[in-house]
């Protein structure tokens, strides 16, 4: 079920204190693919971050369908996880971009939101693409329906041949 995600490298021009430059992300994604037993589809991206300026222990924020949220970290601070759930009936398949921001990016984003400016001017430090191949909701046609249709077909053919013979 694990799908390996391509690594995206986005360079950031701001170097200020604890910011991360040249962020490289290695991500492993998981999405629920069986919608017959779950009510909501889970989207999970586990990733590790390495910065070219060696900055460590950076708290990240991600833009997901819930808005801008803080990213969960493992207790040793090395692995991050972005996750959310969507309703199984309305979830669409395809690529879901997740933009990651550090503290400066998050502050700039909040400032842009308060001033009602366009938030896409703030550059994320990295982007993860989470691919959801679509969840299996059951077969298009039930096999019992196919069996009944085949039986009706055979019966109809036999009946027409018989009436043609008898008439």
């Amino acid at each position: 079920m694990k799908v390996l995600i391509a690594v995206f490298i986005t360079l950031v021009a701001v170097v200020h204190g604890e910011s991360c430059t040249g962020a490289q992300v290695e991500a492993v994604g998981f999405t629920s693919q069986d919608a017959t037993i779950v009510t909501k589809i889970a989207y999970i991206a586990d990733f590790t971050l390495s910065c070219s300026n060696g900055a460590k222990d950076i708290s990240l924020y991600a833009e997901t369908v819930d808005g801008i949220v803080g990213v969960a970290r493992s207790v040793d601070g090395l692995k991050y996880q972005v996750s959310w759930v969507e309703d199984a009936a309305t979830a669409v398949s395809g690529e879901r971009p997740i933009k990651l921001y550090d503290d400066q990016g998050y502050a700039a984003l909040r400032k842009a939101q308060r001033g009602n400016e366009d938030t896409s001017t703030v550059q994320p430090i990295a982007t993860i693409n989470l691919y959801h191949p679509g969840a299996y909701r059951g077969p298009w046609v039930q096999s019992e329906t196919m069996a009944i249709i085949a039986a009706i077909f055979v019966y109809y053919y036999a009946l027409t041949q018989k009436t043609r013979l008898m008439a």
Binding site: S32, V38, S59, A72, S74, K79, A147
Partner: protein, 223 residues
Amino acid sequence: SQVAALVQCTSSIITHTLSVSINISVSPPARMLSYLILALAFVGCVLSEGEGEERARLLAAKRVHNLYLVEGRDIVVQYSVHNVGQAAAINVQLTDAGFSTEDFDIAGGQLQVKFDRIAPNANVSHTVVVKPKKYGYFNFTAAEVSYQPSEDSAEIQIGYTSEPGEGGIIAFRDYDRKFSPHVFDWLIFALLMIPALLVPYMMWYNIKSKYATVPRGKKGRSD
């Protein structure tokens, strides 16, 4: 910290009282001043107990988003943490020890995570997908949340999420018997029906091919 402040207050009051009683022999204006200082210390002490109570308060919920719990298939568990206090919660750690590795495989997500900061009136959500290895009744227990209630507070507050309760994990073969499309079974059935259908068909076809069909004259045409 509150107990320490209380001790500090009472000790300062006691020293002021002692100094005032020692200064009884001093002139009346100085005595009035010392009484005033004592009163102010007392009032200041009482008032200082009430301030600095801005704390973060976290409410956490754990939900299982499944229609059926099936052995070997996904169970989607979502934890959501809301901060209903006035201060930001620092170093929030969420630990779920309820899914032991001998009974569950983790398909995605981590069971022990931390959030650096949850702002007041903000919430975060965390999702984990596990697959059970065994079937039977399973009690979904609460996960533990620990956090610092404010930035300058050193104490760790521990809380628990809500408990989803007990659920029955169905054995895979029971689920499969009830819900799978059984395409293979239908193909076997078709294969078994073929001799029963083919034999009469061949008999009829052999007889029919010996006779040509006579075209019947159309009604109403007479020559």
